[in-house]
Subunit: 227 residues, 2 copies
Amino acid sequence: MDEVPGLRSAQRRGLAEEAADRIREAIFDGAFPPGAPLREVELAAALRVSRGSVREGLTRLDREGLVESEWHRGCRVRTLSAADADELHTLRAALDELAMRTAAARATEADLAGLGDLVAGLERARDLDAPTADLIALDMRFHDGVYRVTGHRRLGEAWAAIRSQIYLFLLIRTRGAEDYRDLVVEEHRDLVEALRSGDQDRAARLGTEHVHGGYRRLLDGLGADVD
Amino acid sequence: MDEVPGLRSAQRRGLAEEAADRIREAIFDGAFPPGAPLREVELAAALRVSRGSVREGLTRLDREGLVESEWHRGCRVRTLSAADADELHTLRAALDELAMRTAAARATEADLAGLGDLVAGLERARDLDAPTADLIALDMRFHDGVYRVTGHRRLGEAWAAIRSQIYLFLLIRTRGAEDYRDLVVEEHRDLVEALRSGDQDRAARLGTEHVHGGYRRLLDGLGADVD
DNA sequence: GATTGTCCGAATGTTGACAATAGAGGTCCG
DNA sequence: CGGACCTCTATTGTCAACATTCGGACAATC
C-alpha cells in the first residue's frame, strides 16, 4: 500500500455526479426557488445528458436533502419551514458537538494550521467587504474542515446529509443579520483555539454554543415571521 | 414477460424499493457475506427486474451504508472493521442523546404506552428463550419507536443511515455476549421510565449510556480480537 | 528479471424507446 | 348548476441495447 505524499487519487466522476453538481449550483444561484419542480426531461435537455443520468443525480440531491421526490410526482426543491430550520439546527448541534470533541482529540498541528488559514481568509474577506454569501461559503468550508479532521467517515456523511440544506437556509435568511459579519471571525477563531487546547469537553460545548447561538441570532434578527 | 407464480407483486411501491428490500433481506440472512460483490446483472436476473431498478435499489442500500460502491467497480457488502464499529457507536450515541432528549419533551401517553408494550414483548421473548436475533430485532424496533416519537424527520433519516449497519453489526457479533439477554429488558425499561419522567437531561444521559455501555460490553465479551 | 504496453473478457455507465401513472380539464347526468 | 366520471396529456417509472471502463494475462523491451 504505497502512498505518494502529495498526490490524491484522481477519482473518475460519472455524468450523474456532474449533473448533481450543476443542478445544485443552479439551486444555490436561485434559478430554482424552493418548491420549484425539477423536471427530468427539461434538465436532461439543458445539460445535454440522458434522463437516466439526471435521475441518478437527483437521487443524490435527495440524499443531501436539497430536493424531495414522491412516487410518480417527481422532484421539487425542498422548502424550508420554521420547523425545518429547527430540525436542521438541533441536529447540526448534536453532530457538531461530536465533531468538535473528536477533532480536539485528533487534530494535528497541520490540521490546526489549515483551519487557522481558513479563519484568516474569512477575516480578510470580511475586511474587504466581500458579499455575505462569500463569508457563508467560507464558514461552511471551515466546518467541512473540522469534520474532515475528525477522520470520522459516517459523521462526515451525516453532516453531508444536512450541509446543503443549512447552506441554502443561510443564503436565504441572512440578509437581516448584520451582526453575522462581526461575530463570524471571532467565533471561529475561538473554535480553533478550543481545538488547539485539546480540551474535548470545552471544544464540544463551544461547538454546540456556536450553532445554537447563530440560530438564535438569526431568529431574533428576522422576528418570528418565518413562513 | 414470463409469469412466475409467487414473484409478481412489485408494482405499487416502485420496483426499486422492492429490490432494495429483497437484497437487504438477503444480506441479513447471510446470503451475501461482508465483502461479497453484488453484481447488477445477477441480481436483476434473480429478481426478474431490469438492471436499472436493481441499480436504483443498490443506491438506496448505499445510502443506508449497507453496501459501498465505487465507480465502474460495482457494489460490495460493506465490511465492518473495529474502526467502523467505533464510528457507528459514537455517532449513534450522539443521535440517541438528541433523540431521547426530544422524545422526553414530546412523548404523549399513547407513545409511552406503545414503547412500554415493545419492552413487554422483549421480556416475553427473552423468557421464552427466543433466539437472540429476535431480541435484537425487537431492540431495534424499540429505538425506531423512540426516533418516531421525536417527530424529528432529519434525525430519523440520520438514524436510518446507520440503522442497518448497527443491526448487521449486532447480528454478527453478539454470539459471545450472553449478558445481553439479561440487561436488554432492564435497560429499555429504564429508558421508558426516563421518557415518562419528562426529565430531558436524564433521558439524554441515559440514552448515551445505553449505547456506550452496550458497546463496551460487546468489546469486553469478544476480547480485542476484532479484525 | 522487472517494467511497460497491449489485448480481452466482464462488469458497470449511459442512452433512447416504451409503459404506467397522476392530475387537469371537459363531458354527461342528476 | 354541481359532482362524478372519463379522456387526455404531461411526466415519471421501467426496460433492453450500446458505450465505456476496469483488471488481469500475455508479450515486448530494456
